[in-house]
Symmetry: C2
């Protein structure tokens, strides 16, 4: 991983396809932190292995090993990185703005992404839904989140990032939702606030280099 400004030995358990791994990978790069990414292949079910159960009994990635502690949950990891490596800051200064940043983050992290992860898709398949129906489910909830973000950003336009002049956790989460939209074929063109913000994010190397489709193992082309 790019970035060399910290000597802290950070290990990062992720996977190319994981949208939550993208969020943490991007935060690490924005902070200029080196981390060794260890692959947990979600498509092979490696998150359910006995070895990974010792890392996260929730059987989910990302997980971060830092300072002898195991950290899980992308939002908790990003907040941790922002507290321990404060520059550049990924959170705004006032409690009201921090609450808004976290609320924006949670539209993707809580309301949306957990609905489309592998365990949900497998469960729907086990309930008799074919691949098209599972894709329709994922498309539906992703689309709902895009509409929510569009309404929120129309109300308080990005300037140019969601919380103002500098990129932060909210932008990372909105960008992650734009990747999810790509995976599940939600067209962002009718949602200019979301599309513009996502485009701006991916013009930054920390986002572009962290994109799921740019990671080892991702399909080519």
């Amino acid at each position: 991983m790019a970035g060399t400004s910290s000597s802290a030995p950070i290990e990062f358990y992720g996977f190319w396809r994981s949208i939550a791994s993208f969020r943490v990978r991007t935060a690490l790069r924005l902070k200029g932190l080196s981390a060794e990414e260890r692959v947990i292949d979600l498509l092979k079910g490696e998150q359910h292995s006995d070895a990974f159960d010792k890392i996260n009994p929730g059987h989910a990635i990302p997980a971060l090993l830092s300072d002898g502690a195991i950290l899980t949950q992308s939002l908790a990891i990003m907040e941790y990185l922002d507290e321990v490596y404060p520059e550049p800051s990924l959170m705004p200064k006032t409690p009201i703005d921090r609450a808004y940043a976290r609320a924006l983050a949670l539209v993707a992290v809580a309301d949306t992404h957990p609905l489309v992860v592998p365990r949900i898709r497998h469960k729907l398949a086990a309930m008799g839904h074919d691949e098209a129906a599972v894709m329709s489910w994922c498309n539906h909830w992703t689309h709902e989140a895009v509409k929510t973000y569009e309404s929120l950003l129309a109300r308080r336009p990005a300037a140019p990032f969601a919380l103002g002049a500098t990129v932060g956790i909210a932008d990372i989460c909105i960008a992650s939702l734009s990747v999810q939209a790509h995976f599940f074929k939600v067209d962002l063109a009718p949602y200019p606030h979301v599309a513009t913000l996502a485009k701006l994010c991916f013009e930054l190397p920390a986002f572009a280099e962290s994109h799921p489709l740019k990671q080892p193992g991702a399909p080519q082309g």
Copy 2:
């Protein structure tokens, strides 16, 4: 709502059945804050009204009006309350412990609760699943979260609360999952770490008085 130590006019949009509203209601009470609770009847679909769309275009409760700002997402609201009204603190002191508190919170807030909210149950019904199948879905994911919490709490036992001597955001979220377990018929008896922590929480008036089944409109008995 009980508590009178603040004169800030806080308005709180919630509903008796809402597990996320329970979380914020409990945090307000732990802080000794007064708030006027305005009912958004999820069962009548009031979260989709034009009036509430102006509060939260994500059409979800809770929402909090404080200091002229609209705050959404239960975890973001709890963190805001902890920043603005720091005593008693609901978050631990070190970055590592805060990351763990947030990770525990997100098992309920992100990984689990969004899977059982009304919009999901309605969607499953629209996909042809009967009430028993929808209940089975809700039971399954709630049970998964109980198992995850049990593993996490077994690894680092509550002492007596999840992060140590004082109650906090992680405990609120684990208690909220215990309410969800009650609603969806997951027996906590095989999970002593979770059951003990939840019992301890509900011995505190802030939790007991905030319980969904103790709110106006809840079914009796």
